[in-house]
């Protein structure tokens, strides 16, 4: 059980959507990141899907479902004016080549240097392999890497750690972390606590965060 109740996943996604500027090309990973898309509809933001689509539309339902049109999470999506398709080599040239402005990914753990772990959960018991997918390419190529995750595990341990115990996806790449309890920025001095869930104190957040937090001068409630 989590010690504190915080934002539901959809609202973490809403907070992240506010961090994305108009005119951005954005790649959304599986899980909470996918939900960010729901809050970007109508915005001047183009979603890049690594399967090979730019300007991915909303989820498809009913008669709009086309078996040849899915996103990288294997969900039926739609095409909109200005959409384009391309192959995987082109898709990862965009990603690795630094053309994607913002990438949002989930994680098992993030440390205060901006290293993160997302591709393999050792408890699955598959030694040496896992689903890397496009996570390592995206982490290397993204201009801004935002992590969306619950603040603690189901058993209450901090997912913000001083040392990763899960295998790393990439090192020194994370810019900001959005959890159900807080918004933090990775800085050269450590994790800067910028926003907290209304009603909680800095001490509350620190009690469920392994690394020592630096407190922002303008610390505020999570802005929605």
């Amino acid at each position: 059980m989590s010690k504190f109740e915080g934002l539901p996943r959809e609202i973490i996604a809403l907070r992240i959507s506010k961090e994305i500027e108009d005119g951005s090309y954005v790649n959304l990973g599986i899980g909470i990141p996918t939900l960010v898309g729901n809050w970007l509809e109508g915005r001047d933001v183009h979603l890049q899907s690594e399967i090979g689509m730019l300007k991915t539309g909303a989820m498809a339902e009913g008669d709009d479902v086309d078996q040849d049109l899915i996103n990288a999470s294997c969900q039926a999506v739609t095409e909109i004016p200005g959409s384009s398709y391309f192959d995987l080599v082109e898709s990862f040239a965009m990603i690795r080549g630094g053309h994607v402005d913002v990438t949002v990914m989930g994680a098992f753990q993030v440390n205060e240097q901006g290293d993160f772990a997302s591709w393999m959960n050792p408890s699955r018991g598959l030694d040496g392999v896992g689903n890397v997918g496009g996570s390592m390419d995206l982490a290397v190529g993204a201009r801004r890497l935002l992590i969306a995750m619950e603040h603690t595990t189901k058993t209450g341990e901090s997912k913000l750690v001083t040392k990763l115990t899960y295998p790393a996806t990439a090192v020194k790449k994370v810019h900001m972390i959005f959890t159900d309890l807080a918004v933090m920025e990775v800085t050269p001095k450590g994790l800067l606590l910028k926003e907290i869930y209304p009603g909680l104190t800095v001490e509350d957040i620190q009690s469920v965060t392994e690394p020592k937090l630096i407190i922002a001068d303008d610390l505020k409630a999570i802005e929605l």
Partner: protein, 246 residues
């Protein structure tokens, strides 16, 4: 130059045990299901199957068929395991990966795309920053300990880069929406994905095509895969499938 084979059986007849076969598709989209079904029927064994992003999770019935026939020796993919650990633990393929009866090798998706591209473009190996600082930098990701070959690295412009090798295929199975008799192909929407690059990486590319047309019927400006990469074309009906939950 008419590359059309009358039957799918003829199109795959010369594939022998031990072949290295690339399979296009990304989860459910653009998977050459009919070719894989023919390969299951043929029963060819000891295969190395090379994928890009889980086409055999999308075409899960075909994965079950290959596994049941004990046809796979090794699978290469970036995302080859069911997302759900529970679903995975009940899956026959994953059980054989756990026991080591099937060798499973993993690369980051973009690196894998580039390994096929390099093979098709005559580049033996390349340096990439992807995977630096992770297990990918140290050695090949494999379920078999002895197969975890050390990787070479080099610091380029201050960034540690990993040396990755081209991945050459004996055969590639690709799925196209339209193809002419000379092997020019067009794909549809996100069913394109890994198909074009797989076609370049193989000695023999076999395209299953929903609509076979005459040369000239495809506007040359809109050809995705030029015919030089395609050796065999076979017509297949359009199959309806579920977009599965992984």
């Amino acid at each position: 130059m008419n590359k059309v084979f009358k039957t799918i059986e003829e199109a795959i007849a010369d594939i022998k045990d031990g072949a290295v076969i690339g399979i296009g598709g990304f989860f459910a989209a653009g998977v050459p299901r009919t070719l894989i079904q023919a390969l299951i029927k043929k029963g060819t064994k000891n295969l190395t199957i090379c994928c890009g992003s889980g086409p055999l999770l999308g075409a899960y019935r075909e994965l079950d068929g290959l596994v049941a026939g004990k046809q796979i020796r090794k699978l290469i993919d970036s995302y080859g395991l069911f997302r759900s650990a529970t679903k995975g633990s009940q899956n026959a393929f994953e059980q054989l990966v756990r026991s080591g009866e099937i060798e499973f090798e993993v690369y980051p998706m973009g690196t894998l795309a580039e390994k096929y591209r390099a093979a098709g473009a005559g580049i033996p190996a390349f340096f990439t920053p992807v995977g630096s600082g992770s297990m990918v930098e140290e050695s090949v990701l494999s379920n078999i300990k002895e197969k975890r070959a050390k990787k070479e690295t080099r610091v380029i412009n201050g960034q540690t880069c990993v040396l990755e090798y081209a991945l050459k295929l004996d055969y590639a199975f690709v799925h196209a929406y339209m193809g002419d008799e000379e092997g020019n192909l067009r794909y549809r929407k996100t069913a394109r994905n890994f198909n074009p690059v797989m076609a370049t990486a193989a000695s023999v590319t076999i395209a299953e095509v929903e609509n076979v047309v005459y040369p000239g019927d495809i506007d040359p400006d809109t050809v995705h895969t030029p015919g030089i990469y395609v050796q065999r074309v076979v017509h297949v009906p359009r199959i309806t499938f579920d977009i599965t939950n992984l």
